[in-house]
């Protein structure tokens, strides 16, 4: 692992955490429009975003009020979806899709099984998916298009 890769991942994690913290009121819990999830498009630019988003999610849940369960489930979801996004990088329009689906399933499942939110499992999943879709396609995808002009900063 090259030093630069490591640092890039760390900085991506820090940006993720910063966005989660500054926009906290809508970032935690059932009402998940976590603006920082827009960053899930970063694997399109650099593979360093895979560990970066994983750590980012871990760190922001470490600083947030939810504790261990969110730390484990949320970051696992981020890791899987970042890896999938990286694999899909040939088709930019599909890059924001894994975080919508994977986070929906894992975080929705967590809300249903662990938090005991009384709506059916599929409802929990779709609810999280909706929030993720707003963040990933609403902000993430335009961000991808803009950042494409500044691609060289990732090199």
């Amino acid at each position: 692992m090259k030093t630069e890769y490591l640092i890039q991942a760390a900085i991506i994690a820090a940006i993720y955490a910063v966005l989660t913290i500054t926009l906290a009121p809508i970032s935690y819990g059932v009402m998940q429009v976590r603006v920082s999830e827009a960053l899930t498009i970063l694997p399109y630019f650099t593979p360093a975003a895979i560990p970066g988003l994983f750590i980012g999610c871990l760190v922001s849940n470490m600083l947030g009020p939810y504790g261990l369960l969110d730390m484990v489930c949320g970051s696992a979801a981020s890791l899987v979806s970042a890896w999938l996004s990286y694999r899909l990088r040939a088709r930019p329009a599909l890059v924001p899709l894994p975080p919508v689906i994977i986070n929906g399933i894992i975080v929705g499942g967590m809300l249903y099984f662990a938090y005991g939110v009384g709506i059916p499992l599929i409802g929990c999943i779709l609810w999280v998916c909706l929030g993720q879709a707003i963040a990933c396609y609403g902000i993430g995808y335009p961000l991808l298009r803009y950042l494409n002009k500044y691609k060289r900063i990732f090199e």
């Binding site: 640092i7 900085i11 504790g67 261990l68």
Partner: protein, 266 residues
Amino acid sequence: MIRDITLGQYFPGDSWIHRLDPRTKIIATFAYIIALFLVMDLWGFAIAAIALAIVIKISGVPLKFIIRGLKPIFLIIIFTFTINMFMISGDVLWEWGFLHITRQGLRTAIFMAVRLILLIIGSSLLTLTTKPIALTDGIEYLLSPLKKIGVPAHELAMMMTIALRFIPTLLEETDKIMKAQMARGADFESGNLIKRAKSLIPLLVPLFISAFRIAQDLAMAMEARCYREGSQRTRMNAMRFSKRDIAAMLLMILFMVIIIVEAHIL
């Protein structure tokens, strides 16, 4: 607008709980979460709540501080409680039009709400009494058995440490960019959800460019000082298990046994 954000949950202190090894606290928190899912009735929760209250008392974290941390999930609790109360069918206690509250519904609603509250308080106690850097060291240690299957535990911990170090720097940077863009007429605070989301783009692009410049400088500085991953490193604050940790582990085992006995034998 960013000034009034306190970073993290850590409540400085020097209690018995604060001084426990981070590894002990992580394991104990996991155990506590598992215990909450083993509980079958409200008596079990009463035991878990008393145990938690004792730990909070020892930790010296003011109750007000903990309750404040519950605020953002208050909505989830109310939501869950209401849905559970009205949606579950059974012996009707109260009815009004299509709304009905059943005994089973009320029981489930209380059960789930209590579990959720204990779950959140129990696990936030970990971040309340452990510094993020200590937590990172603990996570690294607990992940290190996974090195055998190729998980880069040290590198991940290094990333966490650097990320934690740069959060305040980037917070300041974000604030600066926000003000600069607002001076140019950017509007971050009005409009509907989609419009507000879109308005973040002029914030995110400069933030990225500046953050990646920091990353480049840092990588160069580290390489100039011969940082190389994989080499054996020593620590400034080495973690050490003490008698205190053994005592805490034994107490945790005792707690688990009580919970299991209560739930499955009594």
